[in-house]
């Protein structure tokens, strides 16, 4: 099987003269196989991992979030309609609907992002840099399910061109690519990514009584097929049930504190993730599994994750003590199961390119993200959630942190050198 695949690759290898074709070929070849070439000379790396394999591990850690996110898009949609409200009822409809929403997002993010990467790789005449593999896997997970696809395309193009290629490509960027594309939408098209109306797919407004909007694909392709095999179909006349708001736990908490949240969502629903939100971040349990996977395989540095969580917890406790608004009185441990705190800690802050590189720097970097993110989430009335902005903020300072950590290190060693020299 492996040999057959290798032979197939060898057979279809285009000549190196055809730049664009060969770039594309190389990208897919190294995706399947580790290259044979090893470093000669003075560089020694103990680890067999190359960049692409590191990234594949991150993508693997995200798979559970993808599966769950697909189901959750459909589940939230039907909960809003008051149909199939039990978790497993109408399972195939939920998954079908999730796929209808998620696959276009996934395709647009990859076609735009990879297209730009291929273009630059061919222009510069080197093999394609696989940096978009992780960004491309992360971007669909941090978008609301109903994001207009053209806005998504523009934001990905912005992030890849201005955020990465201008800096010289993979590994050179200062700010996290996935977050840059999200922050671009956040400031350029705020109504598509914030507020209570955007987190449940299929409606332009979540006020009770508004009728569902299925696209032509669901009504004229999926529904006839479902009808012929004799299963339940998507009901185009259904509308949102009375009393439904679509509000996320964070917006409930900022309005009325923790009691207001638990009136709508149980803690276990928030823990397992059957709540409205961005596609991939709602399930805390699966994200924690991802964290464990990343730490065990040593892809992510535990220092960032731990100091991030400590920073968020300490800030949460300080806010409990201060407690002048209802949001500040939310018990600090409950802050962890709302919003995207854990997802950001696992997959966004640990990006090895944009984080600080020194061990001490990583501790400072993670702690500051935890602190600033919590401050933005709780104290800033303008933004509902803070981690995206906090991570971008600390990305700005990660180079500076490294600079001073290195300088302190040099100073200490100089002192030691002087002492031994005089002794």
């Amino acid at each position: 099987m492996k040999q057959a695949l290798l032979n197939l690759f060898r057979k279809i290898e285009p000549s190196k003269e055809k730049k664009l074709l060969h770039t594309a070929y190389d990208a897919f070849f190294t995706f399947a196989f580790a290259p044979n070439e090893t470093t000669h000379g003075g560089v020694h790396i103990r680890d067999g991992m190359d960049l692409k394999r590191t990234m594949v591990h991150v993508v693997l850690a995200l798979q559970l979030c993808y599966v769950f996110g697909t189901w959750n898009i459909g589940h939230q949609h039907f909960v809003a309609l008051g149909e199939h409200t039990a978790p497993l009822a109408g399972l195939h409809l939920k998954i079908l609907y999730g796929l209808v929403k998620l696959i276009p997002i996934f395709i647009v993010a990859h076609v735009v992002g990879l297209g730009i990467e291929f273009f630059y790789a061919a222009r510069k005449g080197h093999s394609v840099e696989e940096g978009f593999l992780v960004s491309g896997a992360l971007i669909p997970l941090i978008m609301p399910p109903d994001i207009p696809l053209w806005i998504l395309g523009i934001s990905v193009a912005f992030a890849v061109i201005i955020g990465k290629e201008a800096f010289g490509g993979t590994g050179m960027n200062i700010w996290n690519i996935a977050l840059l594309s999200r922050v671009f939408i956040f400031f350029a098209y705020p109504t598509t990514i914030s507020g209570d109306d955007v987190w449940v797919a299929g409606f332009s407004s979540t006020t009770p009584g508004s009728v569902v909007e299925y696209g032509w694909f669901v009504t004229s392709v999926l529904n006839p097929i479902l009808a012929t095999i004799g299963s339940a179909t998507f009901n185009v006349q259904s509308a949102i049930v009375d009393g439904y708001t679509g509000a996320t736990p964070l917006s409930l908490a900022s309005q009325g504190g923790w009691e207001n949240v638990t009136a709508t969502y149980s803690s276990s629903a928030m823990l397992w993730g059957a709540i409205p939100g961005s596609v991939g971040e709602t399930s805390k349990v699966l994200v924690v599994l991802g964290i464990i996977f990343l730490i065990v395989t040593k892809i992510a540095d535990w220092r960032i994750i731990v100091s991030f969580l400590v920073g968020a917890a300490v800030t949460g406790m300080l806010m409990n003590l201060w407690g002048v608004t209802v949001f500040m009185q939310v018990p600090w441990y409950n802050q962890f199961i709302m919003g995207s705190l854990l997802f950001a800690a696992a997959f966004m802050a640990t990006d090895p390119v944009t984080a600080s590189a020194t061990p001490t720097g990583k501790l400072i970097y993670g702690f500051m993200i935890g602190f600033i993110g919590m401050v933005v989430r709780v104290l800033n009335p303008a933004y509902p959630e803070g981690w995206m902005l906090a991570i971008l903020f600390m990305n700005t300072f990660s180079a500076l942190i490294d600079h001073y950590v290195l300088e302190a290190n040099m100073k200490r060693r100089m002192k030691r050198a002087v002492v031994t020299a005089t002794a």
């Binding site: 201005i162 955020g163 290629e165 201008a166 800096f167 010289g168 490509g169 050179m172 200062i174 700010w175 840059l180 922050v183 400031f187 002048v324 608004t325 600033i372 401050v375 933005v376 104290l379 800033n380 009335p381 303008a382 933004y383 803070g386 902005l389 906090a390 971008l392 903020f393 990305n395 700005t396 300072f397 180079a399 500076l400 490294d402 600079h403």
Partner: protein, 203 residues
């Protein structure tokens, strides 16, 4: 408490460089290495922190109608503000030359040019238009200076780092500095909207 509010607001929420884009010339020109950026940043903190209270005194007691002369002399505001700033910069220049000749040489023309750094005159004019009192203007001076200092050392560290990146040739140098400043502004937007005064008032 009011002092801390204005300090935080001036340093982070309404950063002079990244929210108002003031003081860009020396910010772009001197941010090639962290060491010189650090020196210039400290100089700006000092000059802003000293000139704003002095300008407040001048504006209140010399130029206003209720002042010493009893006539409205506000048309002299710009000249007097600049004169105070220039003399402060002269003072800084002498101190830096005396105690750190290497920094003095590294900063070169940009040290005297703090005089025309728009962040500094801008700070004094903000003080007038926002009707700050004496301690407010001291807080705004120190906070605004600190925000400027943070911005310039952060971009200097990034520029030191991307020296080793494969930046497309047309963007090397200033082009990259502009892109960096824009993206830093985007990152600093995270704090816009926080109002320290509203939080303390709620207590």
């Amino acid at each position: 408490m009011e002092f801390i509010n204005i300090f935080i607001k001036a340093a982070f929420v309404e950063n002079l460089v990244l929210a108002y884009f003031l003081g860009m010339c020396s910010y772009l020109a001197v941010s090639k290495t962290v060491k010189t950026a650090f020196g210039l940043g400290l100089a700006v903190i000092f000059v802003l922190g000293v000139t704003m209270p002095i300008n407040w005194l001048i504006n209140t007691f010399l130029l206003s109608e209720s002042g010493v002369f009893g006539i409205d002399l506000t048309f002299l505001r710009f000249i007097l503000f600049i004169a105070v700033i220039a003399s402060m910069v002269q003072l800084v220049e002498m101190i830096v030359e005396k105690f750190s000749p290497s920094l003095y040489n590294a900063l070169g023309i940009f040290l005297p040019l703090i005089t025309v750094n728009c962040a500094i005159l801008g700070g004094s004019l903000f003080m007038v238009s926002r009707e700050y009192n004496f301690s407010d203007s001291l807080a705004f001076g120190l906070g605004g200076g600190f925000g400027w200092f943070l911005a310039i050392i952060a971009i200097a560290a990034i520029r030191e780092k991307i020296k080793y990146s494969n930046v497309p040739a047309p963007l090397r140098g200033l082009g990259m500095a502009f892109i960096l400043t824009g993206l830093m502004g985007l990152a600093f937007l995270s704090l816009t909207g926080i109002d320290p005064a509203a939080l303390t008032a709620a207590k």
